[in-house]
């Protein structure tokens, strides 16, 4: 099992999740963060922290979101560790809650 960051995070990236994570499992990209499934200890603390409600347990992913499991694993290998909370992306308000932001993901 692991927890997975999904679409809602893209272009918002509040990083509230980072501070609470006891396993230092988050990895940071330009406009998205992901969870390294090898580091995640399934505690679930990050879920209620996320203002965009972007984080789900693997077992609770909808079929539409299932591909985020692989995407998290893949990007976690490339992206650097993030340990401290950062300010959200400027102008995140206009992206908050918008569906299907994957096209905007910057790798």
């Amino acid at each position: 099992m692991t927890y997975v960051v999904t679409d809602n995070c893209i272009q918002c990236k509040h990083t509230e999740c980072v501070d609470i994570c006891p396993a230092d499992a988050f990895r940071e990209g330009k406009n998205f963060i992901v969870i390294d499934p090898d580091e995640c200890v399934d505690c679930g603390l990050c879920v209620p922290e996320c203002p965009e409600e972007a984080i789900f347990a693997e077992s609770e992913l909808t079929t539409d979101d299932e591909h985020f499991l692989e995407l998290n694993a893949e990007l976690a290998k490339e992206w650097p560790l993030i340990l401290e909370k950062l300010p959200p992306i400027e102008g995140y308000q206009s992206w908050s809650g918008k569906p299907n932001k994957l096209a905007h993901l910057e790798r």
């Binding site: 006891p22 505690c43 679930g44 603390l45 879920v47 209620p48 401290e84």
Partner: protein, 502 residues
């Protein structure tokens, strides 16, 4: 989800769950709501690789059929759902030349060992236990009485008079009535870390019930870990028509213009109505969720003056060998190490974070010796525990924090390696819970593991933070209120709350 409940519980810790179960069984509609995605607060398990660990439970006193403490297990509807595993050795205590192994339900054997080390104190030891037994009886009489609560209070001076007699006693005051021997007093209060204060500051009233309960009725683990107890309570609540909503931090306690409670808010549930709310979270959080202006100055002043308890640091180790490979016998379980005699000195060091040298007490728990269901065959698990001050952890940057956590983990492993040569070669999983971890998982301020400190000003029926707030419809249960922390403490707080107000 309904839009209205009779009672809403904020926090699914043991206090909240037990009270919810008691009230649901009375036919009331209850909702328990917790921020975390698993129920139990400190009474939860976690997994790492092949190993599962109980976050908190070292020893649960007295939970054996026929014992007093078992009554609350029965009343909360979980007696048939969980199994308790007795500890062959209640604890093994070492301090200087004193080396005492207290066996399961063997108070006479324990006294004999004390007399062996302190032959001149034999009469005193006999007398102090005789009175402690009577005090235990008074306490149990009060706690488990089936009489209405106010009748119980009225009856206290007559039938449970020791509760009042020792109200202002510290543990040390009590033992000092019988002996001047510091070593003996330290041995008698060997379990002081369970209560979070040294004997000289710890309220006797709070200590005295489990003190005898452990010795007479034994210490226990819950088969499968304390998560099993929490889950069993959830099941009972649900069986009686109640609901448990997880992963939903309560963001507001809502009052109307007449200062009466009308419900709670959380992001997930929105506004949910209830005339009664029971908090299982810290009173500080209650004030901030309700709004500071809802409480009068006197209440806030009192709250400000109360001292929260100390925190703890636990290293959870999963080993790739069985414990007997390290020379640990099957009947061993808890070991308390006390490098110096003075508990107060140790406590001051612990509190200030001076835990890196060999000046402070610590303990080992051989978890898998009691419950091997949480490890794979051929493997084992144990815990290394120390109390530690709540400050000096929360303001660190993540890197500094990581280092400090690593450093203290290493200190405890080094200490344990002296007792268990070869330990380091067998560690497969190593995890540590710090004061910061405690706060992360429970929101308890500073990572306090025992609610408010149990000094004589903050302990007991009349001095503990009350179960009823000055706001109509708002109550408190769990470690922060009467009687206090601990598995039995929080479950009893639920019983008293319900006996008294529901």
């Amino acid at each position: 989800m309904k839009s209205e409940y009779d009672v809403i519980f904020i926090g699914a810790g043991l206090g909240g769950l037990t009270a919810a179960s008691l009230i649901a069984q009375k036919g009331k509609k209850v909702l328990v709501i917790d921020k975390h995605n698993i129920a139990g607060g400190y009474a939860t398990n976690f997994k790492r690789k092949d190993f599962e660990f109980d976050v908190s439970l070292h020893s649960f006193d007295g939970v054996v059929k026929g014992g007093n403490s078992y009554k609350i297990i029965e009343a909360s509807g979980v007696a048939d759902k969980i199994e308790f595993l007795g500890h062959d050795t209640l604890y093994h205590y070492q301090c200087g030349d004193i080396d005492i192994k207290v066996k399961h339900q063997d108070i006479e054997g324990y006294k004999k060992q004390l007399v062996h080390y302190f032959p001149e104190e034999e009469g005193n030891i006999e007398r102090l236990f005789s009175e402690a037994d009577k005090n235990y009886k008074d306490m149990s009489g009060f706690l488990y009485s089936t009489k209405r609560f106010f009748l119980r209070i009225m009856a206290t001076p007559l039938f449970y008079r020791r509760i009042l007699k020792y109200e202002h006693y510290t543990v040390d005051d009590y033992f000092s009535r019988y002996t001047k021997n510091e070593k003996l007093k330290a041995a008698l209060s060997a379990q002081w870390s369970y209560y979070g204060l040294p004997a000289k500051d710890l309220a006797f009233g709070y200590f005295s019930y489990p003190f005898i309960d452990y010795l007479r009725f034994g210490g226990y683990s819950i088969k499968g870990g304390s998560q099993k107890l929490s889950n069993a309570l959830v099941d009972t609540i649900v069986e009686h028509g109640g609901e448990v909503q997880l992963a939903s931090p309560v963001t507001k306690i809502v009052t109307n213009e007449k200062n009466k409670i009308i419900g709670i808010e959380s992001k997930k549930t929105g506004f949910v109505r209830a005339k009664k709310i029971v908090s299982n979270i810290s009173p500080y959080a209650v004030v901030s969720l309700t709004g500071d202006e809802q409480f009068d100055q006197k209440f806030k002043q009192n709250l400000k003056q109360l001292k929260p308890s100390i925190s703890g640091f636990q290293v959870y180790l999963g080993l790739n060998c069985t414990l007997d490979k390290l020379g640990v016998k099957k009947d061993e379980y808890i070991r308390f190490f006390s490098p110096t005699l003075s508990q107060r000195e140790q406590f001051d060091n612990l509190k200030n974070g001076n835990v890196f040298e060999d000046k402070t007490g610590w303990s080992i728990n051989y978890f898998s010796n009691v419950d091997d269901s949480l490890v794979s065959p051929g493997k084992s698990s144990l815990g290394l525990f120390t109390l530690v001050g709540t400050s000096n952890w929360h303001s660190l940057s993540k890197m500094e924090y990581r280092e400090k956590k690593q450093e203290l983990t290493q200190v405890l492993i080094d200490k344990a390696s002296k007792v268990l040569p070869g330990l380091v070669d067998h560690i497969e999983v190593c995890e540590a819970g710090t004061p910061r971890t405690m706060t992360k998982f429970t929101n308890n301020p500073g990572g306090a593991i025992y609610g408010f400190e149990q000094n004589i000003k903050q302990s007991g029926l009349f001095r503990r933070f009350p179960q009823k707030y000055p706001l109509k419809g708002l109550y408190q249960v769990g470690a922060w209120t009467f009687p206090g922390a601990g598995f039995i403490g929080t479950m009893l707080s639920a019983k008293i709350l319900v006996d008294r107000y529901f």
